[in-house]
Symmetry: none
Subunit: 245 residues, 2 copies
DNA sequence: TGTGTTTCTCAGGCAATTCACAGGTTCCGC
DNA sequence: GCGGAACCTGTGAATTGCCTGAGAAACACA
C-alpha cells in the first residue's frame, strides 16, 4: 500500500498498514546513525546492529522487511552473516554496503538473487531509492506502488532511470538523476542547498557548496531549456520544482 | 491537532491536547533565555540546558517533541551530544544552531534525517517557523495541520514559500516573506515596530528602526497595490493585517 | 593506454536584496 | 490652522547570492 504523508510524499507501507521495518548493520556508529535518521524520515521503523552476532539476534526478534548489511564487520565475514540471516529470514532482501575497491565478483553473484548493493561512500538518496526498490519488488509492500515519479509533464522512472519531458527523452548523468529525483520526491517544496547536499552527495563530500548551483544549472539546461521552467530558485532559501502550468 | 488560542493564533498541540515540549540547548544564557521566551509565547513547554550532559539528562526525563541544539557546547562536541540524544529519543527532530562560517565542515549530514538548522545570528521568526515545520513533519502534532497561512484572500505557503492574493502570485524577498509571515500569524492584532524588529530581524541587528516602515511599504506595494488594503497602520502603536472585507 | 564522459573547482559577472539617508506627507493635539 | 511627531517612500550604495564558462582531475570503458 502507498499513502501520502503530510509532506505530500508517497511512502511505503506493509499490506496491513503498519510501517516497513528495516535492520541496519554496520560497525561504524556514525554510519548506522546517519542511515537510521534518514530511513526513519521515510517513515520506516529502524533497528541497528554493530556486528554479525547482534544482527542475527535482532533479525530474529525484529523480523525486518529489508536489511542493510555492511560486508565488512569485525566479528564475522559478510557472507557468514548473510548465511545466518538467510536462515532466519529466507525471503528478506538485503542491501549490501561495500568499499569501492572491495568490489569483488562475489557481490555480483549475491545480487543475482534480487538483492542489491551500494558502495561506500554512498549518498542517502541512493540508499533510500535502492531500499525502496528492494522492498517494492519483494512484495513486502503493496506491489501496485510503482516506480515512476511525475511532476507536470516531467517523468522519471526509478527502475529504468529514464527521464522525459513532454515525451522527449532526456539523458542525465548519475548525479543529475539523483538531484532530479530528490527534487521530484519533494515537489512544490523549497529544498535548501544544505539539504540537497546532505541527501544527494555522499556523506564524506567535502567540497564547495556551489556544486549544487552548478548541477541545478545543468538540470535546467536539459529540462527547462526552451520551455516553461519547472525548477525555480528561491533566493536565500533554496530550490523547488513544480509543474510548469 | 491545531487549535485557536484566545489571541486568535493557531498553535500546535500534541494529539492528546497537551502542549508541545521543546528542549533548548545552548551555553550562552542570553540565547536560551531569548529562545525560551519566544517559544513559550508559542504556547509550548520549554526546558533548557547549558551543556551536553545536562541536555541528555533533561531529555531523558522531559521527553521533548523537538530539540534546539547549539553545535558549539563547552563540554562535548555537538555531534557527540546528538548521538546521545538520539539514543534517548530516536525520533525527535533537532534544529541545529551553528555559526555561519562553520557551515562548510561540520554540517554535512545534519539535515539528512529531516532535521534542520539555522545560522547564528538568527531571527526568532525563523527559529519558530523551522521548529513548527519540524514538529509538523515529525508527526508529534496532528498531521492535519498544514503549511498554509490564510488571511482573507491572501495566502502564504510555508513549504513552497509561495504567496498569492486573490489568486495572483506575488514574489517576495526573504525579508518581506518573514515579515508577512509574522503579520499573518497574528492577524487582527497590532504589532509594534519593536516587536517586529525583535521577531523578524536577527537578534544582533543594529540598524535603524525605520527598516520596518520601509519593509511595510514594500509589502504594501506588492500586496495592497490597487486593492482593498489589508495592512493597516495604527499610528503610535504599530501595524496589523486583517481581511479586506 | 587512449578517448570520451563526468565531476568538480575557481572566478568573473550580474542582478536581486538590504539598508541608510533624507525629504515629503499625514495625523493629531492645541 | 499650526507645529511637531510619526510615518511614508524615492534614491542610491554596498553587499550578497546566484549563475555559468573554462578547464583540471577523476573516472569508465574499450
Amino acid at each position: 500500500m502507498t499513502t501520502t504523508s503530510p509532506q505530500g510524499r508517497t511512502e511505503l507501507l506493509r499490506p496491513d498498514g503498519s510501517p516497513v521495518r528495516v535492520l541496519v548493520v554496520d560497525d561504524e556508529q556514525s554510519i548506522t546513525e546517519l542511515l537510521s535518521m534518514a530511513l526513519r524520515y521515510e517513515g520506516w521503523q529502524i533497528r541497528s546492529a554493530g556486528d554479525g552476532t547482534g544482527a542475527v539476534q535482532t533479525a530474529r526478534e525484529f523480523r525486518p522487511d529489508a536489511v542493510v548489511l555492511d560486508m565488512m564487520l569485525p566479528d564475522m565475514d559478510g557472507l557468514a552473516v548473510l548465511g545466518r540471516l538467510r536462515r532466519e529470514l529466507p525471503d528478506v532482501p538485503v542491501l549490501f554496503l561495500t568499499a569501492k575497491d572491495a568490489l569483488e565478483d562475489r557481490i555480483a553473484g549475491l545480487t543475482a538473487g534480487g538483492d542489491d548493493y551500494v558502495t561506500k561512500p554512498f549518498s542517502l538518496e541512493e540508499v533510500v531509492a535502492r531500499l525502496r526498490g528492494l522492498i517494492r519488488r519483494s512484495g513486502a509492500a503493496d506491489r501496485r506502488s510503482d516506480s515512476t515519479l511525475v511532476v507536470g509533464d516531467l517523468m522519471l522512472d526509478e527502475d529504468s532511470h529514464e527521464v522525459s519531458r513532454a515525451g522527449d527523452n532526456i539523458h542525465l548523468t548519475a548525479t543529475e538523476f539523483e538531484l532530479l529525483r530528490f527534487l521530484m520526491r519533494n515537489p512544490r517544496r523549497v529544498l535548501s542547498k544544505a539539504q540537497i547536499l546532505d541527501r544527494v552527495w555522499s556523506y564524506d563530500f567535502g567540497g564547495q557548496a556551489n556544486v549544487v548551483e552548478l548541477y541545478i544549472s545543468y538540470l535546467r539546461r536539459k529540462i527547462d531549456a526552451g520551455r516553461e521552467p519547472m525548477i525555480h530558485t528561491r533566493r536565500g532559501a533554496g530550490y523547488l520544482i513544480k509543474p510548469a502550468a
